[in-house]
């Protein structure tokens, strides 16, 4: 078969080693019963250190990444990942500390976690945070369990339903169901905002919570957020804010002022920690004072400059995972925030908004926005296959790869036909955005002149379009 790069196992040579260890004083057979030992060694590659370094360096070069290419994935906030944060998180004092170490031996880490929580409180206006959730979806699930615990504490057993917007991330309804709730979807209006009347109709004594993304997935601010919060609260429900798009609010607005009861943030989006090809992330959850007691354990506490980890808190929902959370990620976010003062924080949001509108303004004649008005941190554009020889968003995305740009988020939100969701972030320069705009305009022209060329894209990458059908019909997921 024609190969891009051999697998590590295909490069394996029996007897090769990448690292050697000392011999034990006694072999395992001295300590363990024969029957417990494996009969055949695991089929892992046998490689020299140099083989391994070359193999993974070669693999790395098959990737587009933020360091090499604009990565305008909507709702993902692919902003520059400052290297100072990497250096700080890797400091031995932090990295080598065991999570079972007593508080006295982990004061530095505990202080960072406590300070980061306080900073997130300051940014959002909420009373308390937990850093335990490992990702945004994990944070949502945490928030939903908190809502369940809140209603249970009030002996209100009727609240079995959660309302989500039709423009929401798929994780919102999926998380709600995991928490034992039924999901009801509330429609958006043509202007992309939640339909307040439809929400009011849907609200009732059965509603546990309303989940809303602010700004929403169209990059638009929910102008009626206060009315939404008031309506939810009047019905006895809580308001959850999916904070995936918090970059647009950084230093500008505090969700607590909107009437939000629970929210999650994504440290790997708004707070510059690298995505690592899909993780690790971190999805801290913030709550109002009334809900603080339900937060998962462990929680960091401070008294006279001494920090402790509390594991037994009456009312807590429990633990969302082992230990305190993705501490290594939290360290990077803390370093990021300490590099900013209040004014530069605000400029993060302002420049993110400026960049998204700059792209929107220069593409709106060819790729009409889903809602044609100024946006916040991202803009949702549409491809019009009926005007482009049948060229679809997927084709445009693949052709963008040829032009040296990662593709925007495509086909999301689901309520927009042929969506191209562009989030440039504040760290991209005008020159880069100009080049991106020019590339999309050129693809539009090419779709009219030579649609087959676009349909067959990508042409310049290590592989052409891959057969996803064959992969799904006959899954081959391991050697």
């Amino acid at each position: 078969m024609n190969l891009l790069e051999k697998l590590s196992i295909e490069k394996s040579v029996p007897g090769r080693r990448g690292v050697r260890f000392a011999q034990p004083a006694q072999p395992a057979a001295a300590w363990l019963p024969e029957t417990a030992l494996r009969k055949t060694p695991p089929r892992l590659p046998e490689m020299s250190e140099f083989d391994v370094v070359r193999h993974y360096t070669r693999l790395s070069r098959l990737n587009y990444c933020l360091d090499t290419h604009l990565y305008p994935l909507g709702s993902c906030t692919m902003k520059y990942n400052p290297r100072a944060n990497e250096e700080i998180a890797a400091l031995d004092g932090f990295a080598a500390t065991h999570p079972g170490a007593p508080d006295a031996a982990a004061q530095g880490t505990l202080e960072v976690l406590w300070r980061l929580e306080r900073m997130l409180c300051a940014l959002t206006g909420l009373a308390a945070f937990t850093l335990q959730p490992a990702a945004g979806a994990h944070g949502e699930f945490t928030g939903i369990l908190i809502a369940a615990a809140y209603h249970r504490s009030r002996r209100d057993r009727r609240r079995t339903e959660i309302l989500v917007a039709d423009s929401s991330h798929g994780t919102n309804p999926a998380s709600a169901v995991l928490g034992g709730f039924a999901v009801k979807t509330v429609a958006s209006r043509p202007d992309g905002r939640l339909d307040l009347d439809a929400l009011k109709t849907a609200l009732g004594p059965q509603t546990a919570m309303v989940m809303l993304t602010v700004p929403n997935t169209l990059g638009l601010f929910e102008r009626q957020i206060r009315e939404i919060a008031d309506a939810a609260h009047a019905a006895g429900a809580l308001l959850y804010m999916d904070g995936a798009n918090f970059n647009a609010l950084m230093g500008l607005a505090k969700p607590a002022d909107f009437g939000v009861d629970i929210l999650h943030l994504n440290l790997h989006k708004s707070f510059s920690t690298p995505h690592g090809g899909g993780g690790p992330g971190s999805g801290p959850v913030g709550v109002t004072a009334a809900l603080e007691k339900f937060l998962p354990v462990p929680r960091v506490a401070e008294k006279n400059g001494r920090f402790t980890l509390r594991t037994k808190i009456r009312g807590s929902i429990g633990r969302m995972r082992s230990w305190a959370g993705n501490v290594g990620v939290a360290l990077k976010a803390y370093a990021y925030l300490r590099a900013h003062d209040a004014a530069t924080l605000r400029s993060i949001a302002e420049n993110a908004i400026l960049n998204a509108n700059y792209v929107r303004a220069q593409l709106r004649d060819l790729f009409p926005p889903a809602v044609d008005e100024p946006c916040l941190h991202e803009c949702v554009l549409r491809t019009e296959p009926e005007k482009l020889n049948g060229i679809k968003t997927l084709d445009v995305a693949k052709r963008l790869l040829d032009a040296g740009f990662y593709a925007p988020t495509i086909y999301f939100p689901l309520i927009v036909h042929e969506a191209l969701m562009v989030e440039p972030t504040e760290t991209e320069s005008k020159e880069t955005l100009d080049a991106f705009v020019a590339a999309l305009r050129a693809i539009h022209a090419e779709a009219l002149a030579d649609p087959d060329r676009v349909r067959a894209a990508p042409h310049e990458l290590p592989v052409r379009r891959l057969d996803e059908l064959a992969a799904a019909r006959n899954p081959n997921v391991a050697w």
């Binding site: 996803e468 059908l469 799904a472 019909r473």
Partner: protein, 126 residues
């Protein structure tokens, strides 16, 4: 083959073909085209009870998942393992080798609530 002209159809695109009190069920040719390349079908187990209008099987394409709603109520008496092994059969022959399972109907009168081919054709087009 279950001649589609003699099948009864649900609005949700399932068909049922009755012989005595046993109905063979599947998805319409229109539906298989809409879903496009089917990669996986999850069927109920023989012996399971299904209820008209309730989801009882799942159909997956590369980028979509659809529920299969039982067109009639009753007990599943046979399932078509061939489409589990080779889901492309549903695309190739939705009314033939691509049938899903057979139901021993508990309420045969439910068939009357389903549409005939002509009525289905006129709704499915919209």
């Amino acid at each position: 083959m279950y001649d589609e002209k003699n099948c009864r159809f649900a609005k949700s695109h399932e068909w049922a073909f009755a012989e005595g009190d046993v109905a063979t069920v599947g998805i319409s040719d229109y539906a298989q085209k809409e879903i496009s390349d089917i990669v996986f079908v999850e069927l109920p187990k023989a012996g399971a009870q299904v209820e008209q209008g309730k989801p009882c099987a799942v159909i997956e394409s590369v980028k979509a998942a659809a529920d299969f709603f039982a067109p009639v109520s009753g007990e599943v008496v046979a399932v078509n393992d061939a489409i589990v092994d080779n889901p492309a059969l549903v695309n190739q022959s939705a009314h033939g080798e691509g049938w899903f399972f057979k139901i021993k109907m508990s309420k045969p009168a439910e068939l009357e609530a389903l549409m005939d081919f002509a009525a289905y054709q006129s709704t499915a087009a919209h």
